[in-house]
Symmetry: C2
Subunit: 351 residues, 2 copies
């Protein structure tokens, strides 16, 4: 037998509206009755039904994290716990909870009506593989709060958070150049993927603004001004293959930036197999610290993405939107800055 607000009211000899006010710590209730009612609640081990509260308040205190279990994701596999932790760290203290919404069986079409119209959640967090521009438009139209994890370039009205991949790629590239590598290549990733494009852009930013590289050009032979970019689905096999391609180039690069840990692993293996010494003959760096970067031979210099901060940023933006009514209009995009983790794979002897 669950005990309800009525039981408390009866036991404390007050109206249930009074009990409700005590629950919400209304200033209109005297300290005396508050204490009396609270004592009864404690004694009867009362806990308000969150369902009833939420129905009455017309507010779900609930945000959904949308995932699609039908598609594999290296990124989510490595970072899901962190992302959830980040989100939870901001919504939890605000008394919101997080529910996992799997759209695998629901389908992209009906999922808006399921979660949004069904008022299961007050806001949605999802990644940019799920949040298509059309979907975002629909949510915008409904004025329904949402945040994408992962940028959606171009559309000004959309709301997202992302790691600053462009700046990160520039940091990584600059590190290589400062380290004495003059001709870094970029391998892995797919054209059209915003993350790939952002990283390539950052890579080129760094190449374009580097003076040392200009001076080295003479000794090192002809350098491609805009760098060498070899795309390919980010797995180990392509890491190997793309390294072979690099080594067959007329101007072989002296460093490699890899799109992912798996690409980097394949690259390291291929280089080792061919007797290319790392970091002396070839520097290698990668994006992401997890799962492998600290544990390869040699350990990989990488750009460490703070996925907890990413989740937290998403949570903050979402909560800002949910409470937007009374607040100033919120900014609709936010970068989380990555940081460089320097390891042996780029420790070239300085000349």
């Amino acid at each position: 037998m669950k005990i309800t607000i009525n039981d408390i009211a009866k036991a404390a000899n007050v109206a249930k509206s009074t009990v409700s006010k005590v629950l919400n710590d209304a200033p209109s209730i005297s300290e005396a009755t508050k204490e009396k009612v609270r004592a009864v609640m404690r004694e009867m081990n009362y806990e308000p039904s969150s369902l009833a509260t939420r129905l009455a308040k017309q507010k779900g205190y609930n945000v959904g994290l949308v995932i699609d279990l039908s598609r594999q994701s290296d990124f989510l596999n490595a970072s899901f716990y962190d992302i959830i932790g980040g989100v939870e760290s901001v919504i939890g203290p605000l008394d919101y909870e997080l529910t996992i919404c799997n759209i695998e069986h629901v389908g992209r079409e009906r999922f808006v009506s399921r979660f949004v119209l069904g008022r299961k959640v007050d806001g949605l967090i999802m990644d940019n593989s799920i949040l298509t521009p059309e979907l975002a438009g629909e949510l915008n139209g409904l004025k329904f709060p949402y945040v994408s994890i992962g940028e959606i370039p171009g559309m000004a009205s959309l709301c997202w958070v992302d790691i600053n991949n462009r700046r990160g790629a520039a940091m990584l590239t600059s590190h290589l150049l400062a380290r004495g590598y003059s001709n870094p290549a970029f391998i892995g990733g797919e054209r059209g993927d915003p993350m790939f494009e952002a990283r390539v852009a950052g890579y080129r930013d760094a190449l374009a603004t580097d003076e040392i590289r200009g001076k080295k050009a003479a000794e090192a032979g002809p350098l491609v001004p805009s760098g060498i970019v070899l795309p390919g689905y980010a797995n180990e096999a392509n890491g190997r293959r793309l390294v072979r391609e690099l080594l067959a180039l007329p101007n072989v690069p002296d460093a490699i930036i890899c799109m992912s840990n798996l690409v980097a692993f394949g690259a390291l293996e291929e280089l080792r197999g061919r007797g290319v010494s790392i970091p002396d003959e070839m520097g290698v760096a990668t994006f992401d610290n997890r799962p492998l970067a600290p544990f390869t031979t040699p350990p990989l210099t990488c750009l460490d993405m703070d996925t907890f901060a990413l989740g937290a940023a998403a949570g903050e933006m979402l909560m800002a939107q949910i409470n937007e009514a009374e607040a100033a209009p919120v900014s609709r995009r936010r970068w989380v800055e990555p940081k460089l983790a320097v390891r042996r794979s780029t420790e070239k002897e300085m000349t």
Copy 2:
């Protein structure tokens, strides 16, 4: 303006109770009205409020996955996405949803009242670092459905699922013995941790039942019948340290079973540093495929834990309990069988 069951009733010219029955596909309603009402619902883009439904039905259609973000967990970091996927794959089709319950701020004390008495969830899934025996007893007393991920040895009444660590350890050990290693040691893990104890037990099971080992004993010198077990918190540093201890033993083992990927990584590094060749002079095997086993040098033979299946098993047991009223009493524990992934680290030349 959200549209409700009343709007549908009005538009379809029926009572709202009729609409409700259509929603639940009650047999007492004629096909004709059902179709009529459904047409209206479609047209008005109606979606029932899950909050109201759940309050009225006195059922949350919601299970909680309890985590404690204040404590780091290598296991959860590597497997959280899989576990959630497994749970979701069974509860989703039953129209239950999964909410994340972080007890970091709630505290172990108040969390039962928060989630259980507050009827936020119909059942709880948590790991055995959170589900203390006292807590389990409390939940048992309340007849509240829950499942622990990770065994809780001893208590017969408790409900859990786990990877069959004992059998798995025996498989791994037997593999080494069959491969020609005669004196495998076990390193890493902490006394008192059920997972450690189960694995050590399995390791000893395999040693005890092996005949080949008996024959080898003569050539190999004195073997410790119950094996060599060196515990230690499962990280890289201890992997290195424990290997040093092993190498200093009077009867140096010819194979090592590691409690975790990190221990194994440390072990590999230390062995390499000392010029011990793997797998010829020393075989190395580990538990868990992720995150490193396929990517070390040489790649590690491991026991691959199916964490998706683990999550699914937890989901199934929980749902069974939730629906226990009308069903037969459910079994209260279940093993998920791991499988061996053989790689180069144990490919000793057979003699």
